[in-house]
């Protein structure tokens, strides 16, 4: 374990050096992503300016929800999205085999050697938006609430990384898994809005089968003291437990897929 921890900074370092070879592309990528998200958020803000609230959520509250959503996603996806989205190519072209002949866990190698610093734009925008919304909401930040909020961000990031790992791992058996990312991002888009604006079956789905309700809505609602459908008072503990629980599920799924990996010929 300690030898793995010693290798991780070197894996991250080599990836950052690779990106720094193309500094222009990296900085433009950050700016482009930040502008893209800012555009989406501006359109939501305009809608709220017209209707005043969305499912009982005002614009500063919505801004906190959006900031939480973006920050938790960026933290989790930086360790997983590009790495596991490209899993089917790695299987098809045999480059995954080259990882399996190294004395290091393939998840560790993939996640950290591909740590995506391109999410810097997401993170900067999310923190900026979060600071603005918090300063406009007048939340009573007790130490317990601060700890809960930080732990909930970590849990949501873990949930993101776990789901992406599970989707990517499926390519080890099915060879193709990218279509599953389309389903993920379908629910991910919905996770930007308050859960209570959706019909009940979709709400149930967003806290069970596709638990992206935990990515932002549930922890933000708990922090704001708003009611959470279905879960009620269990929303706080559940939002902290969901990340570690899905990490355990992802470990089991990853190991199963690795054990049954057959390559793609050649």
């Amino acid at each position: 374990m300690s030898s793995v921890l010693r290798v991780i900074p070197h894996l991250i370092g080599i990836h950052i050096r690779t990106h720094m070879e193309y500094r222009g592309a990296l900085f433009i990528g950050w700016i482009a992503q930040a502008i893209g998200y800012a555009g989406i958020y501006a359109s939501i803000a305009l809608l709220l300016a017209r209707f005043e609230n969305l499912g009982g959520w005002t614009w500063p509250q919505m801004a906190l929800l959006l900031a939480f959503h973006l920050l938790a996603y960026a933290l989790g996806a930086s360790l997983s999205f590009v790495q596991f989205r490209d899993m089917e190519e790695k299987v098809r072209l045999g480059t995954f085999d080259a990882i399996l002949v190294k004395p290091i866990g393939p998840w560790t190698f993939l996640a950290f050697s591909g740590l995506n610093i391109e999410y810097g734009g997401h993170i900067a925008l999310a923190i900026g938006l979060m600071v603005w919304s918090v300063s406009n909401l007048g939340i009573d930040w007790s130490p317990g609430l601060v700890l809960y909020f930080l732990a909930a961000i970590v849990s949501a990031a873990m949930l993101t990384a776990a789901l992406m790992t599970m989707i990517g791992a499926t390519a080890l058996i099915w060879v193709r898994s990218r279509h599953l990312f389309s389903i993920f991002f379908g629910f991910w888009e919905l996770a930007r809005y308050p859960l209570n604006i959706f019909p009940l079956p979709l709400q149930i789905m967003m806290i069970t089968f596709a638990p992206l309700g935990f990515l932002a809505f549930i922890p933000t609602a708990v922090a704001l003291g708003k009611p959470v459908p279905i879960l009620g008072d269990w929303a706080g503990p559940a939002s902290l437990a969901i990340g570690p629980l899905f990490v355990l599920l992802a470990i089991v799924h990853w190991r199963y897929c690795l054990r049954n990996y057959q390559g793609a010929g050649g």
Binding site: H10, I14, T18, E21, D97, P103
Partner: protein, 333 residues
């Protein structure tokens, strides 16, 4: 000495979807799927001693890559038992990986955008190579493979030959006991091929590194591997020294007779006509006891014979002959 690699009745079966032809078949297969079992490796047994250099040879689809993937711990065998350095490779993949080096001819393990040295540094940490040993090995490999001029150049700027040498060095930095090479000379020019072959042969002889090679390049085999393991349809066809294979099949010497003018059709009891180019005729001497004098005696005078060449069969001919006559020859061997 116990074998460094031992395979006993190793098999690997893949489940493959039976595809139905046509658009209708594609629609039907959405609802009803039939699978068949493909035996990529079928009851293969062999033992490789430390320090050997072995070519694992076979046509495309023969099951050689699958076997190498099982030995390196990438795939799990479906049948039989496999032991590498006394361990089951798949169950001990990470421990096994510390003691083997793998070069995939067409899949680079170097970091494309970074100098070669950066990939080596990363491997130093992954394999936990002590700094002094790493420095010694890097100096040795740099000198042997003539890499000094491009060690600090990004991999993307290297020629294929330079890259392959850098890949081989990467696989050897941690002093592996076994080096696996999948088509290491594919696409290289003659000079680069020669450098790689000489180096591998030296590593095998001087350092005692066991080498397992999969290649279609028969010169690689002649220069690096005294022993051949030949497979086809997942089954072992031949396991032995190249010279034994050549001795068994080497009677097919090629006799080239060049005449002043085309003498017309020629049939000989001592040799079989292989190619007729008019004034030049190629015969195969199937029987080792037949001498050149026997053929010339049978041919007699009066044909205007200008020149005679007797060629020993090259390895390509030997292997082609083997695959053409495999059931008969496999039984004889």
């Amino acid at each position: 000495m116990s074998p460094i690699i031992s395979a006993s009745g190793v098999g690997k079966t893949f489940r493959q979807l039976k595809r139905q032809s046509g658009f209708g078949g594609a629609i039907r297969s959405l609802f009803s799927r039939d699978y068949s079992e493909i035996r990529a490796v079928d009851g293969v047994s062999f033992a490789i001693e430390p320090g050997e250099a072995v070519d694992y040879l076979g046509p495309n689809g023969a099951g050689k890559s699958t076997m190498i993937k099982m030995i390196t711990g990438i795939l799990t065998p479906s049948a039989g038992s496999l032991s590498v350095l006394g361990r089951e490779p798949h169950a001990n993949r990470m421990v096994n990986a510390r003691e083997i080096g793998v070069v995939f001819g067409q899949r680079s393990q170097l970091w494309w955008d970074l100098p070669v040295r950066d990939s080596y540094d990363l491997n130093r940490h992954i394999y936990d190579i002590p700094e002094a040993r790493f420095a010694d090995n890097l100096a040795f490999l740099t000198a042997m493979l003539d890499m000094a001029p491009y060690l600090d150049r990004p991999v993307r700027q290297l020629s294929l030959g330079q890259r392959m040498r850098a890949e081989i060095a990467l696989a050897l930095l941690h002093d592996p006991k076994i080096l696996f090479l999948d088509e290491p000379t594919i696409g290289l020019d003659v000079v680069a091929k020669d450098a790689v072959r000489r180096f591998l042969s030296e590593v095998n002889k001087q350092r005692g590194t066991t080498i397992i090679l999969t290649t279609h390049d028969l010169v690689d085999i002649e220069e690096i591997c005294p022993r051949l393991i030949m497979v086809d349809d997942g089954k072992l066809l031949f396991d032995g020294e190249l010279k034994r294979l050549r001795a068994t099949l080497g009677s097919r010497r090629r006799l080239i007779l060049e005449f002043a003018t085309d003498p017309g059709p020629l049939a000989l009891a001592t040799a079989t006509l292989a190619a007729d180019e008019g004034a030049t005729k190629h015969f195969l001497l199937e029987n080792e006891t037949v001498s050149l004098l026997d053929v010339l005696g049978e041919l007699g005078r009066g044909h205007g014979l200008k020149d005679v060449k007797l060629e020993e069969p090259d390895i390509e001919e030997v292997i082609r002959t083997f695959y053409q006559n495999k059931p008969k020859l496999a039984a004889a061997l």
